[in-house]
């Protein structure tokens, strides 16, 4: 017991001091706990403002994209947007009906007035091209003779004047590029044709029997003379760099361009023909043509967004993230870029769409309270939908970053998603490609889409398997493709199932081992040597089989042994006939993409390549992602059927969209899905399949059949036959099938052994699901 009377004053003070120390320590710990807990709370994100003017700590301000294409029917923009000294904007374009028009805007590009230039008439009626403009309004262009494909003329139009011809005949016959340094200096590149001499190497002689040479020069317009002739290295760079901007920040004007030769760099060319390196280490992989310079000498270009290289060359940064804009879409390509004095950008995407990018300080910063979209891998349709949504709802904020783009494994990504979903959180919209979407729906984690998307407007063959008996729909594909088999109508007539396909294969010669290094592999075979189907590996052959046979391998949690046997028997017979047991695994394969400009891009894999290009396979097999594929098939005088398999009417759904049932942004999610399933996105060619919107699908079919090369009835009948959606088989099942297929083909297992092996491999996997 403490008795102060019996203690010395010093001892009592010590005890008091210790108690005080205890209290202070307890208070400090409590405060630390409170602070720690507070730190765990959801705090405000850091400012999203960037170097372009946002203020630190306010978490507001972001770039906004607007389509500001003039109302007139533009065939193609010929120049980037220029800013005149009075602040007005102007650019030149070719109209659909012909004629070069000058568009002018006095409201920052929101609206445009047009004025026909009449240059065609003034220059003798030729086609106009290679237009290049200076801010003061000086224009140079080339006119091309319609009668002589090698002839062209150069013209200059000074402000308020009519076109005056410039003599560049000393440079070359056919002008390929024109670029003004200033009102008195012009860069010209041109092609010159000449007759070959006896010493001319054969490879330099073109198909027209002529030798073509590229030439270039810097013209002194005041004197009308060639001031400088360009050397070969410079020439080829400048001939390609048709939109290289002029930098006047250093006093003397110079053309600035990205050089992607052996050593990628930002280069400049001055009026004397001298080339300088402005920045030798570029942080870019795939820049697009459009580029611009501002008055301070900063250089801008497009590579997944708008990037800037500072005037000194030491600062490289992406200032506009293109992920949520049309700028970042796979089917967009920036041909011209412009930057205004106030820091806005104008980009010509494709050839006839003009977009403006402005910084809006009043909007929440990117990433703040954003509608989040989840997918394993990059998806161009989703990207297009996000861009369309952003254009329709500039106030809303969308965050779409495919989880595998930052590295990591699929299993980790799915684990992380599951954790979030089961905890009642997670992304608002899910793109469930490559994921077992059915389990998400079964567990009640997804919202019903039937009230969000108008299912009646979709292709019923595609959406019906995703719709429950009560009309509910938890996952909906935005695209689909069809595995098809191509060949002559007579040959295809006898193929109805895996058995008849096996017979068709056995009726032809066996395929030799795929060897991409051996030129003989690509030689065209005689009719008797042709094989039925071309494959590059056993893995590819298995995937070919599973793309029409994997939906019923497991039903009601049990292995469908009959289906497994059918699949393995097919692999054993065909693989054994081809000798695939000794084939080595290869990652290399052939494939091409074809487009004639107006059509969708047709992708052709190994199955189509060996048939249509090598002519060594009697049948072609491929994934039809556009009706244009069928047009190409029929143009070759052939027909197509659904690839036979154990699944009846197999098709491959893609862009499997769903909404998180726990999302607090159901309304916004519905709006984004409306964009994904809306006319704009569905009508665009994203190279990831055919649209599910019936009207868009019909339009696509009509367009593909417009020239009469494709049979609309055949396309319709193929579509009417699809019934079973087949997605990627579970990795566990695929691995087991591959292991035992390999064992069969190397002779270490019989068919019965293989079936039993698959059963044993999957017994635990399936037991877990019971």
């Amino acid at each position: 017991m403490l008795d102060a009377d019996k203690m010395t004053g010093r001892g009592y003070n010590m005890i008091q001091f210790r108690q005080l120390l205890h209290r202070a320590a307890a208070l400090t710990l409590s405060l630390a706990l409170a602070l720690t807990t507070a730190a765990c709370a959801k705090g405000e994100a850091a400012s999203g403002a960037d170097a372009s003017g946002g203020q630190s700590g306010t978490a507001t301000g972001r770039w906004v994209e607007e389509n500001v294409t003039p109302k007139e029917a533009v065939r193609a923009f010929n120049t980037s947007v220029m800013e005149a000294e009075d602040g007005s904007l102007y650019c030149y374009a070719t109209l659909e009906e012909g004629g070069i028009v000058k568009f002018t805007s006095t409201d920052g590009g929101s609206t445009w007035s047009s004025e026909l230039t009449g240059w065609e008439e003034a220059t003798g009626g030729g086609n106009i091209g290679c237009i290049n403009v200076l801010p003061d309004g000086t224009v140079v262009f080339a006119s091309y003779s319609e009668s002589d494909s090698h002839a062209s003329q150069c013209w200059i139009v000074r402000p308020g004047e009519t076109p005056q011809q410039v003599d560049v005949s000393g440079v070359g016959q056919y002008i390929t590029n024109l670029a003004l340094f200033d009102t008195d200096t012009l860069l010209v590149t041109a092609m010159e044709w000449s007759e070959p001499t006896a010493e001319t190497p054969a490879e330099q002689i073109g198909s027209d029997g002529m030798v073509s040479i590229m030439r270039g020069a810097i013209i002194d317009l005041a004197a009308g003379t060639v001031a400088q002739t360009l050397d070969n290295d410079t020439l080829y760079i400048m001939a390609a760099a048709n939109s290289c901007p002029v930098d006047t920040s250093a006093g003397e004007p110079r053309l600035v361009y990205l050089n992607f030769g052996d050593s990628p760099a930002l280069m400049s060319l001055d009026k004397t023909g001298k080339i300088s390196t402005l920045c030798s280490e570029l942080d870019t992989q795939n820049p697009e043509i459009g580029s611009a310079c501002d008055s301070s000498g900063n250089f801008y270009y497009v590579d997944g967004g708008i990037c800037r290289i500072g005037a000194g060359g030491s600062v490289q940064e992406r200032i506009v993230e293109g992920a949520s804009f049309h700028l970042g879409l796979t089917d967009s390509y920036c041909r011209d870029l412009a930057v205004t004095q106030e820091g806005s950008f104008f980009a010509v995407l494709g050839v006839k769409e003009l977009y403006r990018y402005t910084w809006d300080e009043t909007l929440p910063a990117a990433g703040i309270d954003a509608l989040s979209v989840w997918s394993l891998e990059e998806n161009s349709s989703v990207r297009a939908a996000v861009a369309a949504f952003a254009a329709q709802h500039p106030d809303a904020n969308v965050e779409y970053r495919p989880v595998l783009s930052d590295g990591g494994t699929k299993a980790d990504a799915i684990s992380a998603l599951n954790t979030q979903l089961l905890a009642g959180g997670g992304p608002d919209i899910l793109i469930l490609d490559g994921v077992d979407y059915e389990s998400y729906a079964e567990k009640g984690l997804l919202a019903d889409l039937s009230g969000i998307v108008d299912l009646n407007s979709m292709a019923q063959e595609v959406v019906k398997p995703f719709t429950g008996d009560d009309g509910t729909c938890y996952v909906l594909p935005a695209r689909f493709s069809i595995p098809i088999l191509c060949g002559s109508a007579e040959d295809l007539a006898s193929i109805t199932d895996l058995g008849s396909l096996t017979q068709a294969v056995l009726a032809c010669s066996p395929q030799t081992v795929y060897d991409p290094e051996d030129d003989a592999y690509y030689n065209e075979l005689s009719e008797s040597e042709r094989y039925a189907l071309g494959f590059v590996s056993l893995e590819q052959f298995l995937d070919f089989t599973l793309q029409t046979s994997s939906a019923n391998l497991v039903s009601d949690g049990a292995l469908n042994e009959e289906t497994v046997r059918d699949v393995l028997e097919f692999i054993n017979t065909v693989g054994g006939y081809y000798g695939m047991g000794s084939w080595e695994k290869t990652e290399y394969s052939n494939g091409i993409m074809v487009s004639d400009g107006d059509s969708d891009v047709v992708s052709m894999g190994d199955g189509g390549y060996t048939h249509f290009l090598m002519h060594n396979a009697r049948y072609g097999w491929d994934m039809m992602t556009t009706p244009y594929y069928l047009r190409d098939v029929m143009s070759a005088g052939e027909s197509a059927i659904l690839q036979p398999g154990t699944d009846e009417g197999a098709y491959c759904p893609a862009v499997l969209a769903a909404v998180n049932a726990s999302s607090e942004k159901q309304e916004q999610a519905a709006q984004l899905l409306a964009c994904l399933f809306g006319e704009d996105v569905q009508n665009s060619d994203q190279r990831d399949g055919m649209p599910v919107l019936q009207s868009a699908l019909d339009t696509r079919i009509e367009r593909a059949c417009a020239d009469g090369k494709a049979d609309k009835a055949l396309m319709k009948s193929l579509l009417a036959s699809i019934k079973t959606p087949v997605t990627e088989p579970d990795e566990e099942i695929r691995t087991s099938l591959l292991t035992h297929a390999q064992a069969m083909l190397t002779g270490s297992e019989t068919l019965d052994d293989a079936v039993e092996g698959v059963r044993n491999d999957l017994s635990l996997y399936l037991a877990e699901q019971q």
Partner: protein, 287 residues
């Protein structure tokens, strides 16, 4: 009790409460609340939204994968625990008996604990794969190659790994227990003519009872970590002889089967609680 002492006691109580608060909060937040949530979700659907009664428990108990995993886990524990406790005790006695180099032995036996799991998984593959070292040795002897990880031998590989990795740690615990026994007991027993075995049986073993409880509890907890090696070597669905409850839990989580996962976790926790209660009771009786 004077008024001053009451005041002092209450102020000490407050100070104690303040000191305890962080850890109590931590335990509530990171242990008790998740446990309660797990129990709650074992009676609900995957989202934890609707009550399902005992459906999850019925489904778990009727699931053959669960029964196999539970049986394997129990078999693993029943074989490993006695072997580990006995083996590590024997090691401890031997190391104490060694007069020179005892410290070196202690360090050497602890080394397996420092080996990263990924390295162990790699070692397994090098040793026990169909084309691994063990198979090559068998082939050299004229036998057929064996894929140890694809047969029932996988279970014994798992047990061997567990024993190899944890023996050193348990040995240290036993040595601490042995060091705590008063040497006077042994001297008195020797004076009375007791032999080594009698001294071990009558003095050492009874005195190690509380150490046994502690070592058993820690070994039990450590035994669940062997899943990491098994998963890294054989994936989510290994040979059925080494298919443990953690495999099942992991796979059910991936399949979003939260109801059954939590029900199975509750069942496992109950089983472990019973085992721990028995061990703690043994320890308390000793005290």
């Amino acid at each position: 009790m004077t008024f001053r002492s009451i005041l002092r006691n209450s102020s000490e109580t407050r100070a104690a409460a303040c000191f305890l608060a962080p850890s109590v909060c931590g335990v509530i937040l990171f242990v008790l609340w998740p446990v309660c949530e797990t129990v709650r979700r074992s009676f609900t659907d995957a989202r934890g939204a609707s009550f399902q009664g005992l459906a999850n428990y019925e489904s778990v108990l009727g699931n053959s994968a669960f029964r196999l995993a539970a049986a394997n886990t129990a078999r693993f524990l029943c074989i490993c625990m006695p072997l580990l406790l006995a083996g590590s005790l024997a090691l401890a006695l031997l190391v104490r008996a060694v007069r020179r180099g005892a410290r070196t032995f202690r360090t050497l036996y602890l080394l397996p604990m420092a080996v990263p799991v990924a390295s162990i998984a790699f070692l397994w593959n090098v040793l026990f794969h169909e084309n691994g070292l063990c198979s090559r040795v068998l082939q050299a002897c004229g036998a057929q190659p064996v894929d140890f990880m694809g047969t029932g031998a996988a279970f014994w590989v798992l047990i061997g790994t567990y024993l190899w990795k944890n023996s050193g740690y348990d040995m240290i615990l036993w040595i601490a227990g042995l060091d705590g026994i008063d040497p006077g007991y042994y001297e008195a027993a020797a004076v009375d003519g007791a032999g080594t075995w009698q001294m071990f049986r009558r003095i050492t073993l009874p005195a190690l009872r509380s150490t046994l409880c502690l070592t058993a509890v820690l070994s039990l907890i450590n035994s669940f970590k062997v899943f990491r090696e098994a998963y890294l070597v054989a994936g989510a669905h290994p040979h059925e002889s080494m298919y443990l409850l953690q495999h099942l839990f992991n796979n059910w989580f991936e399949a979003l089967d939260m109801g059954r996962l939590t029900a199975a976790a509750v069942l496992l926790a109950l089983a472990l609680l019973i085992v721990l209660a028995i061990l703690l009771r043994l320890g308390r009786e000793d005290a």
